[in-house]
Symmetry: C2
DNA sequence: CCGAATCCAGTACGATACTG
DNA sequence: CAGTATCGTACTGGATTCGG
């Protein structure tokens, strides 16, 4: 099955799995984290500082999820204080292409969407 | 600001707006609906039948959200029984490119992710 | 046929406090 | 520094019922 040629098969098992994959990308912080790690490996607190508004709890959970899916690799350097490095795996790197494409689209059409929302809300 | 060149600016107002746009795409059914409407305009019940598992409620809410963002156009043909058509706007059509890219990536790497999840769960 | 209204469960997310 | 534990809230999403 090829999603680009068979848009009808939205109810198959394959597409259910695709949905599960997309669900992780749909998480609030995943895209931002992936785009930040795309540049180079980072430490836990570097990510936390870079992504304004994320809580420690959600950063931990989100990184665990990305690690579980094989998109991010976690390396612990035994020392005091602890030093934990996160980096994209090859699979994670391959994700950056479509993710950046989506991010760019979102950025380019931000104004259009804002205007459409304002117009829609004005009517109702 | 260009998201492809300034991955550091994840905390700016612009990126907050991008997050809001991505949130709609992150909704459980949005991508499937957009991909289905990409082929041609459809009626409410056609969409419902095509996307297995979606409830009437969520289809209604999701279509409203897409309409609000100017991605989908809703046309009512006054008649009995009612006939309502949904179609992508030009803005919505421009979204299909990155969305299909993401969908294709998800489909191609489904197996990798499944394997990574199984391996991760086996250790913990 | 195309919804709206209501009710309810699961969970994503945040705030705070605590630990090796 | 890099988490874990606990609690509380808000929202997503499903089931069901009702209406034009």
């Amino acid at each position: 099955m090829d999603v680009t040629n068979h848009p009808h098969d939205l109810q198959t098992t394959d597409c259910q799995k695709v949905s599960q994959v997309l669900a992780r990308i749909g998480e609030k912080w995943s895209v931002l984290i992936i785009m930040f790690l795309a540049e180079k490996p980072r430490r836990f607190s570097e990510i936390k500082r870079a992504i304004n508004g994320i809580s420690q709890r959600m950063l931990t959970l989100c990184l665990r999820g990305l690690e579980r899916d094989g998109l991010v690799k976690r390396t612990v350097f035994a020392a005091m204080p602890p030093h934990v490095q996160y980096e994209l795996t090859p699979l994670g790197i391959s994700l950056t292409t479509p993710v950046v494409a989506l991010g760019s689209w979102a950025f380019e059409h931000m104004a259009d969407i804002d205007a459409a929302r304002a117009a829609f809300d004005a009517e109702n």
